[in-house]
């Protein structure tokens, strides 16, 4: 809790709508180092509203790094300069007085800019809908302890399941690939015994939809892992590749 403020020049991407031309607009801001990055944008917005100007459109919700709603490219890095946190967890004390800060939306062919910093990421939902689940209806299920699962397997599955679906991996990748996202879900379910019956169908269906939606291929730069706010490992991508090849070898290729 300090009273000293830092002064920044913030260059924010403004774009009125999907089909209009965007550009950077300069904002001078004086902000408490204890503020979060999004609170700094809140302050800019409050000032803009006072002047009857349209606030910067950006999304956020939980502001605790778990919902995956927020996602900005700050000085060229998805979720900003500090590793393993989401944009909402970035605080202004990580910037110096007099800094210039560039703020852009996540950019990818599959993520359309809707307005300013808001992008459409529903492609990620479509990939999950294609197979990111275990097909079990409510009820008629065995007791939870009927099937022992080793602590190590469960823990690996949890590492993968920690993905918050923010799309930073896509934004970080020069090919705009969603492989880290897809591999996290494929890994979680391929590791667990509950996921075995649909193991080959799942990976083929999810990869197929991923490709259809215009996400690029993986060329192993590991930029996705470096920018992932939850530290999801690229080992999951290796597992996805193995699962995918295995599914083809088993030759029960899916048609639809």
């Amino acid at each position: 809790m300090t009273d000293i403020k830092i002064n920044l020049l913030v260059k924010v991407w403004r774009q009125p709508s999907t089909n209009s031309v965007g550009s950077f607009v300069d904002y001078k801001v004086s902000v408490s180092p204890d503020s979060s990055f999004l609170e700094m944008l809140d302050e800019i917005n409050n000032d803009l509203e006072m002047k009857n100007l349209e606030p910067i459109a950006f999304e956020s919700d939980c502001r605790e790094g778990i919902c995956g709603t927020c996602g900005l490219v700050i000085n060229g890095q998805p979720h900003g300069p500090i590793p393993k946190i989401a944009t909402c967890q970035l605080h202004m004390r990580n910037f110096k007085d007099g800094d210039t800060v560039w703020v852009e939306p996540f950019r990818a062919k599959a993520f359309q800019v809707m307005k300013d910093l808001i992008v459409e990421r529903s492609g990620l939902d479509k990939i999950i809908a294609a197979g990111g689940y275990i097909s079990v209806n409510t009820g008629s299920i065995p007791d939870a302890n009927a099937m022992p699962i080793s602590k190590d397997v469960s823990s690996l599955a949890m590492d993968a399941a920690a993905c918050i679906g923010c799309g930073a991996c896509v934004a970080a990748c020069k090919n705009a690939s969603a492989m880290l996202f897809v591999s996290a879900k494929v890994s979680q379910l391929a590791l667990l015994p509950q996921g075995q019956p649909e193991r080959t169908r799942r990976v083929q269906n999810m990869v197929k939809v991923m490709d259809e939606l215009g996400f690029g291929s993986c060329s192993n730069t590991y930029a996705c892992e470096a920018e992932c706010p939850k530290g999801i490992s690229v080992k999951n991508i290796a597992r996805l590749n193995r699962e995918f090849i295995l599914a083809h070898m088993k030759s029960d290729n899916i048609e639809a």
Binding site: C62, R63, D125, Y133, V136, A144, I149, K151, M158, L192
Partner: protein
């Protein structure tokens, strides 16, 4: 006064739900696809209900204001989910979970509802494991449990510190499977702004398309609201930025009674406010109180750094006032005590925070033990505050966290509007005046997976509601009203921003309808909120257009409803001349400062019926305890 029929089934407590399931009417499998059901909200309750109803064959439409259903705020729950599995062989049972929940709620919840909640809790764990939720396990491969506040058994299942996330992703994946199969249609970036009723029955909703700004109409045989709580009425709370009361409040204005609006939970261990620009508050796990000692300076406005304040000038106020429970005193007591010392001017540097100090624990146990127990939490703290809690005491302060109140529902989770069902935090039904930790997730999933799919079917089969055409004048009228409302908002062009006014409301609520309430303060709050409402309609500036993404307009629309709900919360708190759970009336306390209940006069649910703006009629649903003996909650 209307007669409230809770529709609690007859028979012994243990058999009520079983009997009721048998007595309910069924919809023939082939006929299910002829029924349209609207579900608003995609958190634990909404997603689980949508998936289950879709699996049964109903035609479901799900609405969320997020880009994806997975963003719902259930995702942020950390601790765990309770169930009466008794895997630990430590004496747990459905009855014990039922009793703990009733007692934790300070005897202001319905026995039958709470018993059913405990009864279906075990199925929830089975369901989630079958979906692939990676719960914590022991080396033998069995599920691990931990204990939580308000219980003497280990019944909490957890997935690291992300239990809410994993449960929500389980429900979300089940939902997306139904989307893929064509049983559920997903409408993202749509905010419900009104309910459409025809002849007193719920027939559909009106939403704002948050991309195009268009007001859209949707019709169905039944409408389900699973839209969460309203703690953001305080502006600052642990709720997510977009959590709001609009869906339930506008349904309330269409005839759904609002129950126990003043029952709010203030969580004692949140990070304090850093300044005017603060946007929300972050919860720190309560487990920190196991080893941390809470203190403030003995002097007012003590501006020294905490490590410069000598031991004899520190006041460990919880240990002093409640020697037997000390730093582990219950949530409400701890929260109120912190406010007391802050009001005296003895908070951290005279401000709104108290110290949570690990120095003694580190000296006693060694830094490595503390790191093992709380390392992750210490890291989060340092990320947010920039201070190292191993060397400088943490600063904490209470914050609004959960709202036990909500729309009144009967045993079938149907509101006072036929055809309108309310699930999860949005209803009032299971937590009484205080919710126990790890019970919110349980209730959301119980309602969605195991209760609503039965009771909605019963409504459709027995009431045989008919679906109305979107051309019905009632739909047009509601649409027009809301378009006019938005036009009015955009035309005010005053001098204050939406957040400026919301912050003012938050301050009134926090100071007068917060942790400690009294008659004078509540009466003042009612007047001040009404005045602020008038100020809003005169002086707010809503920037931008209605034909576009407009977050300023979204926030303004939600604030309209908070400005009305806030008044009802104050009226409800004023009417209830007792203290119970999260509702603490300063006039009604024991000499030790404990909540003093008045079972003789106030053992009822307050169900408020909307008449006009600023005018409500109180309906009372008496609470009948046939199985549990009312007792004073003791923390000594």
């Amino acid at each position: 006064m209307a007669k409230l029929d809770s529709k609690i089934p007859a028979g012994p407590l243990q058999d009520k739900w079983t009997n009721h399931k048998f007595n309910m009417k069924l919809v023939n499998p082939a006929n299910k696809r002829k029924y349209d059901i609207i579900i608003v909200g995609s958190g634990l309750a909404g997603a689980s209900a949508a998936a289950s109803l879709g699996e049964l064959g109903y035609k479901v439409k799900v609405f969320t204001y997020h880009d994806s259903p997975r963003r719902a705020h259930s995702i942020a729950a950390q601790g765990g989910i309770n169930a009466a599995k008794n895997y630990q062989n430590d004496g747990d049972s459905v009855y014990r979970l039922f009793y703990d929940t009733i007692k934790g709620g300070d005897f202001r919840a319905r026995e039958a509802n709470v018993y059913r909640l405990a009864e279906v809790s075990n199925s929830i764990i089975d369901q989630c494991v079958a979906q692939g939720v990676p719960f914590a396990r022991e080396y033998g491969g069995m599920l691990d449990n931990r204990s939580f506040g308000g219980a003497q058994v280990s019944r909490t299942f957890y997935a690291r510190g992300q239990t809410g996330q994993q449960l929500l992703l389980g429900a979300y994946s089940a939902l997306m499977r139904q989307v893929h199969l064509g049983n559920v249609e997903l409408f993202n970036r749509r905010e419900m702004i009104d309910l459409v009723t025809i002849d007193g029955q719920a027939k559909g909703i009106v939403v704002r398309n948050m991309i195009s700004g268009e007001i859209e109409k949707y019709s169905a045989h039944a409408v389900v609201l699973a839209t969460g709580g309203y703690a953001n009425v305080f502006f600052l709370s642990t709720n997510a930025m977009n959590c709001n009361t609009t869906a339930i409040w506008r349904a309330h204005k269409k005839g759904a009674f609002f129950a126990n609006p003043s029952f709010t939970q203030i969580h004692p261990t949140c990070l304090p406010i850093h300044g005017e620009g603060q946007s929300k508050l972050t919860l720190m796990s309560e487990s920190l109180r196991n080893d941390g000692r809470i203190w403030v300076s003995k002097f007012k406005k003590d501006m020294r750094e905490p490590n410069d304040i000598p031991e004899e000038e520190r006041d460990y106020y919880l240990e002093r006032k409640y020697p037997s429970f000390g730093n582990l005193s219950p949530r409400d007591i701890s929260s109120r005590s912190a406010k007391e010392v802050v009001d005296e001017g003895r908070g951290v540097k005279g401000g709104e925070a108290v110290y949570l100090d690990f120095k003694d624990a580190i000296n006693r146990l060694g830094k490595h033990v503390i790191e093992e127990r709380y390392g992750n939490l210490f890291e989060i703290y340092e990320t947010i505050t920039g201070e190292n809690p191993y060397t400088v005491p943490m600063k904490i302060y209470p914050a609004p966290h959960y709202t036990m109140g909500g729309l009144w529902v009967d045993y079938n989770l149907m509101s006072t509007i036929p055809g309108l069902f309310v699930l999860g935090e949005a209803n009032f039904s299971d937590h009484g005046a205080n919710r126990l930790g790890a019970s919110a997730l349980m209730q959301g999933l119980a309602d969605g997976y195991f209760v609503a799919p039965y009771t909605i079917g019963d409504y459709l089969a027995s009431a045989k509601p008919k679906q109305e055409s979107l051309e019905h004048p009632a739909f047009e009228l509601v649409k027009k009203e809301n378009e006019d409302l938005i036009a009015k908002l955009l035309s005010i062009k005053g001098k204050q921003t939406v957040d400026d006014i919301h912050k003012k409301l938050g301050r009134i609520m926090w100071n007068k309808v917060g942790m400690g309430r009294n008659e004078k303060g509540l009466q003042e709050a009612i007047i001040e909120i009404a005045a602020l409402r008038a100020e809003f309609w005169k002086d707010v500036n809503v920037v931008g257009s209605d034909k576009d993404i407009n977050q300023c307009l979204e926030r303004a629309g939600r604030l309209i409803d908070y400005l009305e709900l806030g008044e009802l919360m104050a009226r409800d708190a004023l009417e209830r001349n007792e203290s119970c759970g999260g509702h603490f009336r300063e006039e009604y306390q024991t000499p030790e400062g404990e909540a003093l209940r008045n079972d003789e006069d106030y053992d009822y649910v307050s169900a408020w019926e909307y008449k006009n703006l600023g005018s409500w009629e109180l309906n009372k649903e008496p609470l009948i305890y046939e199985n549990v003996k009312l007792a004073t909650r003791s923390y000594k």
